[in-house]
């Protein structure tokens, strides 16, 4: 199992791969296959009226493609948490979804200000959310743990004072077969 955080002076990186999915994840990143469908949407800072729309769109596409409802729920929850994270904690960003016949690869990029300590951010209950975000029902400190729980691979690269990139993979079949 791969589950570690590398903290250097300015850049931090986090990797998680669900046990049993190592080969499938490696194959994904090595092969650079062309996706069947790609979707992109913008995420605006603190825009809690629109946030979640991008994830709903992805879910609807996958539903039409006939993805299993339990897998669909996991993707929707992870995507929504990641989208809310960008809206709640960053200066805004974008989400990109690449859909393949057997998997989805979602990438969330923002314009900063970065995560100071990813390992700390991964701990359930740790949150830097402000009062406004908490009043809306967010900021429980469960966003990143909830993404990890629902995905087969999670990769975060962040620079303190700079941008954050979060990407995850969910396979439609067990062990990515």
């Amino acid at each position: 199992m791969l589950d570690y955080a590398v903290a250097e002076s300015e850049m931090a990186e986090y990797w998680y791969i669900r046990p049993g999915y190592e080969k499938a994840v490696q194959k994904h990143f090595e092969n650079q296959q062309e996706p069947e469908v790609s979707l992109e949407s913008l995420i605006r800072e603190k825009d809690f009226n629109e946030a979640g729309k991008g994830s709903a769109e992805v879910k609807n596409v996958l539903k039409r493609l006939g993805v299993n409802p339990e897998i669909l729920r996991r993707i929707a929850v992870a995507a929504y948490e990641a989208e809310i994270n960008v809206a709640a904690h960053s200066l805004g960003g974008a989400m990109l979804s690449h859909i393949y016949p057997d998997r989805i690869h979602m990438i969330f990029m923002d314009n900063g200000p970065g995560i100071a300590d990813i390992e700390q951010a991964m701990m359930p209950g740790f949150s830097t959310a402000d009062e406004m975000v908490r009043e809306l029902g967010f900021g429980a400190g469960l966003g990143l743990p909830n993404i990890k729980k629902n995905t087969d691979a999670l990769h975060i690269v962040s620079e303190s004072g700079d941008s954050t990139m979060l990407e995850f993979l969910v396979f439609f079949n067990k062990n990515g077969q």
């Binding site: 809690f48 979640g52 709903a56 729920r73 948490e81 029902g137 469960l142 729980k149």
Partner: protein, 115 residues
């Protein structure tokens, strides 16, 4: 238990009269934290909450929510009710607290959702 039974038990007001209340409700979950709701809802579930912002409706795009009960007399703004109508999602409002509402429904036989 049907949504129409829940309206009676909670002495509640229906905010979406055009939506059918004949739907069967298999179980319920109560929380004011969005991450908790996302984490715990794995089957068709009635949600009891004090949150009244648009994100509560967006949740129903992600997970299987059969209806929402707003507790403590909270009422969502008109645009939130509109969003629910578009999704055919029933909204109910009760003056009871979250604890009392949950207790009343549990005693009437509505089970907790599996987490």
């Amino acid at each position: 238990m049907k949504l129409s039974d829940i309206v009676k038990i909670l002495d509640a007001e229906v905010l979406t009269p055009e939506v059918n209340l004949d739907k069967e409700v298999p179980c319920a979950f109560a929380s004011d934290l969005i991450s908790d709701i996302l984490m715990c809802t794995k089957e068709p579930t009635l949600l009891l909450t004090g949150l009244t912002n648009q994100q509560v409706i967006r949740l129903a795009d992600m997970i299987d929510i059969v209806g929402i009960v707003f507790v403590r007399g909270k009422k969502p703004p008109a645009e939130v009710v509109e969003m629910a109508k578009e999704r055919n999602l029933p909204l109910i409002c009760t003056k009871n607290t979250m604890y009392r509402s949950s207790g009343l429904l549990f005693n009437a036989g509505l089970r907790s959702c599996r987490i």
